[in-house]
């Protein structure tokens, strides 16, 4: 299999160009080449969304991308955030601050086994960022949460806590307007 040079930005750090097989899937790149195993392989087919990462677009928007069906070279030159990249860590590597979604998922016991958590955290984080640009009307709040998390599969806790935690974060961050 042919290969080509791949350069991208992972969790804020530029990754030096390296020769990567043309057809390598992003999840394999993260797991086997970068030892970042937090984006989890659930179905390997783009269905469960446990593997999603965030791509930060040049226009300041962010979006979810499923790494199990997307080639690593799709991300060439892009800025990518994985589940490992959200929390702020101190010098010893200990977590000093979670992002608001992570914190709320922890506080509300949103996950049990946590295998699906990377997908839910990333999807909800993208939603927060989207609403930071354009808040949502109260009447649409539940719908935007459904649209954002509705495709994700969780087999342990039945979605209730993920959904309510996300709704609560959006409200607390002032991203919900009257209407």
């Amino acid at each position: 299999m042919a290969s080509r040079s791949l350069q991208l930005t992972l969790n804020g750090k530029s990754v030096d160009p390296a020769d990567i097989p043309d057809d390598l899937l992003m999840i394999d790149y993260l797991h086997e080449y970068k030892n970042l195993t937090g984006s989890r392989l659930g179905c390997g087919q783009g269905i469960c969304h446990a593997c999603v990462v965030i791509v930060d677009n040049p226009d300041g928007t962010s979006e979810e991308v499923r790494t199990c069906i997307t080639g690593a070279h799709y991300f060439a030159g892009k800025r990518v955030r994985t589940i490992e990249g959200h929390a702020i860590r101190d010098e010893e590597g200990k977590v000093s601050q979670l992002n608001p979604i992570q914190q709320r998922f922890v506080d509300e016991f949103a996950f049990q086994c946590s295998y699906c958590a990377p997908g839910f955290v990333n999807a909800a984080t993208v939603l927060v960022e989207k609403l930071q640009r354009q808040p949502v009307a109260k009447s649409q709040l539940e719908k935007v949460v459904e649209d954002s998390l509705g495709h994700h599969i969780c087999r342990c806790t039945g979605y209730v806590r993920y959904f309510s935690a996300t709704r609560n974060v959006l409200t607390e961050l002032g991203l919900v307007r009257e209407g």
């Binding site: 057809d23 899937l25 087919q45 269905i47 069906i69 997307t70 080639g71 070279h73 799709y74």
Partner: protein, 406 residues
Amino acid sequence: MKHPLLRTAMAVGLAASGVFAHAETQVERGEYLTRAADCMACHTAKGGAPYAGGLPIDSPFGTIYGTNITPSKDHGIGLYNDDEFFAALNEGIRRDGANLYPAMPYTSYHRVTREDSDAIHAYLKTVEPIERAAPETSLGFPFNVRMGITAWNLLYGDGVPLESAEGKSEAWQRGQYLVDVLGHCGECHTPRGMTGAMQPDKRMMGAVLGGYLAPSLLANDLAERGWNQDDLSSFLKLGMSDQGAMFNEMYPVFHNSTQYLADPDLNAIATFLLGEQPPEAKVLTEVALDELSTSAQRGRQQYLNVCAGCHAVSGEGKPHIAVAMRGNTTLRLDDPRNLLRVIEDGIDEQQFTGFERMQPMPGFADKLDQQELTDLLNYLRQTWGGTDSDLALADVQALQQEAGSE
């Protein structure tokens, strides 16, 4: 009634077919015919009760709503007798004497036999009456004037002209009745003129509908795209075959209609469409990467980036997940429109028969820029589509513009 003999022959043909051997009652026959005529397509709203109407149908003249044809006396056709039902089906004349909008394919249904019409009516009388009025259709002038339709009707007063059945087999004749009459396939696959009527001289030659091409169903064109009779009939039965899976407007046709047809009827359709002596289906061999154009060679990386995860690196697809690119009929259309639209729009999850449930295909409109799209189209079309010519960036832009302006 121009061809009384023909109609009798067809009616006999159908009645004698295996299909009705186990359709013992008139109602069972009617249910089957209702499926074959795909009444559900327009008369059932998404997620709605069967035949209760309410489906919005976009036409160039405005939105037409499918009507309630359940036996509700207030809102449906509960007051129709068989004569009145036959008039509506065959002539497009409502019980109160008004003309139906031509979204009702009565020009195709014009040749439905009285016996079949009665059977369909008998069946519709058994469905649950839904006491709800379908939304009122309101069209722009002159189509808001039902009398204006009379003029339209003049063009097709006697229904869609049919090819002569002389010397054709029983299967072919049955196929013709199913395709041209009950199935009203031409309503989408035949281009329409300015008035909205099908162009008689371009029968089944393919037409653009909602940004997608309903491709030509002419025998040679089908064969050119890789179709043989067996594959065609199983495509109608299962919604999928080696040539791909149904999508866009054809998916509901499969879902509501063709999957319910009996094998002899599906074979009849294939016989009619491909002819008694079908042309040889064209087999393509995959073209190696180094024989592709520069654009197509670039396109390979786009394929690996966003397509191969499901359609596989070598294009064989994944069983029960995503169709193969190799042998795919959509890649072989001269017009790249459908391929482009599918890539940009994606396809929702589709339930086929049994446990076949193809996963949703994401749309890539915002993932690929125009050059990447062009390269990808060239890669797909040249590797597995049998073309050696490049689409230019401008071609793709033009198609995008066309879709955007709709």
